[in-house]
Symmetry: C2
Subunit: 250 residues, 2 copies
């Protein structure tokens, strides 16, 4: 079974994974992913939407540019990405990219914004009763990977963080505030553990969730990459729960 089989429609793989992963991992050749490929239809002109001035279609155009730029940064890194290349991949005029983004740094920063809903899902899960909080957190993180709009950002931040210090900083910052900070804060009850222990417990929760997602979604290592969500959830939730409120040294 190849790692890609988990992305076949009809299997148990979450939808977001195949959508977000295709451009980077599922292309047999080199450099034919979302970055090199124009969003124009083959041989055709711009897509069907009527052409409007930059102001009117701002949201759509900016999103097109950011989607293309995420693929470029993730695949080719900072040095290999040019505003012109991003414009080509997005199927827009290069001047439009410069119009919306002052420079490459501003464009990268836009690409690294936390996924929509990410922090809200984690925060909602962290307010579940303590004895169900581990399950709720794992469920929230699975939901983040199953939401295509969220998964594509998570994946691209992870891949870009591998070679871009700015992306690593963004990843560290989201981690510290939206995951470790929120989970540690949720343990801050009257009879809860001290601050250092809270942070360690939250860090352990993060370590298990990150490892699951790296092996299952990013690297796609069987067998975890091939199991249905419900099974993964049953296998891993007890660990997350133990890190939250169980004994830590056995």
């Amino acid at each position: 079974m190849s790692p890609e089989s988990s992305a076949t429609p009809g299997t148990s793989a979450p939808r977001g994974v195949s959508l977000s992963g295709e451009s980077i991992w599922q292309t047999p050749g080199r450099r034919q992913g979302g970055c090199g490929r124009s969003l124009h239809r083959a041989g055709g002109g711009p897509m069907d939407a009527p052409r409007r001035g930059p102001k009117e279609e701002r949201g759509v155009t900016v999103e097109r540019i950011v989607v293309a730029a995420r693929a470029c940064f993730a695949e080719q890194g900072w040095a290999g990405t040019s505003l012109r290349g991003v414009a080509r991949a997005a199927g827009v005029d290069a001047r439009l990219v410069s119009y919306y983004f002052a420079d490459k740094t501003a464009l990268l920063q836009a690409c690294l914004q936390p996924p929509p809903g990410f922090a809200e899902r984690v925060a909602a899960a962290a307010s579940a009763p303590l004895d169900r909080r581990g399950a709720a957190l794992l469920e929230a993180m699975l939901a983040n990977w199953n939401d295509p709009a969220s998964a594509v950002v998570l994946r691209s931040v992870i891949l870009t963080a591998a070679h871009e210090p700015l992306a690593l900083q963004q990843l560290q910052s989201v981690f510290r505030t939206a995951l470790i900070g929120v989970v540690a804060g949720s343990l801050n009850g009257a009879d809860g553990p001290g601050g250092e222990e809270r942070a360690v417990r939250a860090g352990l929760v993060a370590s298990q969730i990150v490892g699951l997602f790296m092996t299952r979604y990013v690297w796609r290592i069987p067998p975890l990459s091939e199991l249905p969500d419900e099974k993964v959830f049953r296998l891993v939730a007890p660990t997350v729960q133990r890190y939250l409120d169980g004994p830590l040294d056995r």
Copy 2:
């Protein structure tokens, strides 16, 4: 506390981490890491070793080239790496790189060889008695990250796998044989679990170990990045052990 503080000498961070991480994460500016920087001493000529013909110093020269190439591929990806750039970073003549490596693919493949001792450490740990095997496996993986020669390769394969399909394949292959295969095989006793369960247990072990190492060593997220090895070991070993021989669904 910055993530970098874990690499300060005298703290609890394993030696290999600071050695292997410096060129990629600890440089404030862009592209001043191991790839762009020549291994020559500043302003000087080649290093002290007397110049010999390619045959005699083959091992040393090949290692210099591979070390430089790992940094280049990890930081700048396939497209951003040239044999000429690698030669410059290694401080050797470009013709020497071509002499030892037929092309860029051969050079990348040399960079992706599993770290020395990696598979042996995991295999030795997997033959520990079952009730101590989780601790032995975690200890073996910590030893791999604490061994500078091993850590630099692990880190570079992980970073390069983020943008190079060939590196991802190598990572998947090492995972499946040297970690998941070995751990699953170690559970193959007369009264052990069935093949599918063995593989799932081994995958869960890998997920926790990967998550610990991504958050602690690669992304350097506090507080796990700042704890001493012994503490991390005590916190995480019970999870690894439970994945090996404990009940899986609670």
